[in-house]
Symmetry: C2
Subunit: 256 residues, 2 copies
Amino acid sequence: MEHTTEYKDLVNQKQDFLPGISIDCVIFGFHENQLKVLLIKFGNTQIYSLPGGFIYKEESLDEAANRILDHRTGIEDTYLEQFYIFGDPKRVNPEEHRWIMQKNGIDLPSDHFLFNRHITVGYYALVDFTKIQPHSYLNHEESGWFDIYDLPETIAFDHREILTKALDSLRLLLDHKLAVFNLMPETFTMGELQSLYETILNKKLLRANFQRKMLSLGILERLDKKWGGGAHKAPYLYRFDSQKAEANKFSNQFEE
Amino acid sequence: MEHTTEYKDLVNQKQDFLPGISIDCVIFGFHENQLKVLLIKFGNTQIYSLPGGFIYKEESLDEAANRILDHRTGIEDTYLEQFYIFGDPKRVNPEEHRWIMQKNGIDLPSDHFLFNRHITVGYYALVDFTKIQPHSYLNHEESGWFDIYDLPETIAFDHREILTKALDSLRLLLDHKLAVFNLMPETFTMGELQSLYETILNKKLLRANFQRKMLSLGILERLDKKWGGGAHKAPYLYRFDSQKAEANKFSNQFEE
DNA sequence: TAATATTGTATCGTTGTGATACAATAAATC
DNA sequence: GATTTATTGTATCACAACGATACAATATTA
């Protein structure tokens, strides 16, 4: 059983973790015009969940979230922010949880700490999809990217609700900060950027107006044209220019 | 010592509470053109703190926050929302905490659970100042309202940071929801409403434009004029009309 | 009765935005 | 190599939103 290492941590390290609290990460990526989230499939089941973990006793919440994210994606520095804390006492069904563990060959007593009530802090990460290679850890967990609008049927616990709230928060972020550029690769066309906005907002935008608005913000550096995209005029490539953004008083809208 | 009852709870009921997690409430009110927050003064000190508490094991976070708020202000139904979770392992200095308790005649061992690391969930409440009478509980705690821009010098733990974050969140709320009307009395003049906005945003607004904007939202009911306000034209009184707000597609901007 | 302070509203110019149009052009097709 | 095609970059028009200013209305005071 490939999960053993991780689960051993969970099972044995109770004394190292803060009790009764966990972190769940909604890892957003953008690929082929789809907004994706990274989900983990529990072994021997069809149940998916968010990657999560616990907080060491000497660790801040942000540090824990970064550690968990690094563990799952191999990305160390990326945009990561808490968006909500989920504290319903019935948010996790301990029977469901125990059944999942059993399916993975781990038979824990029903009074094991893992099945106690846990409050969970929701973090979302905005990662550059192109920089994430299938991590060894990912394979072990049978994790994968899913279109946020086409999620698996069975999602564990209250994780579907967490995903919904994360998407809501991401939409709010669009209005206030420029953090969504963390979802784009280093260079991109205006059409690709528009596609990201459309996917997050789940509605079509007028191309001409989107371009006008984006250029007027003064945060993009225009590079060479992108050749070979098809039988049509070649689009420019752009790069997000954080210095320009700062000069244009958008400093407070990006990366805190 | 008047605190005894509450502190007894804290000291003895460890087993009833979720371990390692607390709630702190930033209770906003609006009075005499000032944005106020309710702070508690620890006995025999000059140290103020936010009213807070712990979560019972069968209670949701929102329920706990409501209970704590009710306890402090006597208000049962009001606008209450979590805004951030504070999880720095050094956010509370246990020595400072123990010293404060000692000053209140409660000498706890340094390994008492109260001095363990606690993560705290920040909630803000928007209350109608005119409906809050000095609650018996308040007197006991020597609590009082403070202008958010003129806080006491000594504020315990990381509570000043929590207050700052709460004010930031309140400003965001202004853009998205109509919840700030919870801070106003039942009826008010346009000038009073403008004063609230100016106080939250900490900047002056143009009277004519503010009035035009507010009226155009179609969320206010115009009542009789308010007489006796001085040697000038009498202003109209307004009432926030949640039905109008709903009809004008603002339903999603108010009370969830 | 006149003066005063404040309120309610109108107006002007500027900016931002939705909608549409059109020229430019890289690759595919003939 | 000329033509076609799909897409891009930009211009334009109408309208809404907004900052700034002006002014008439009016409840109280003098």
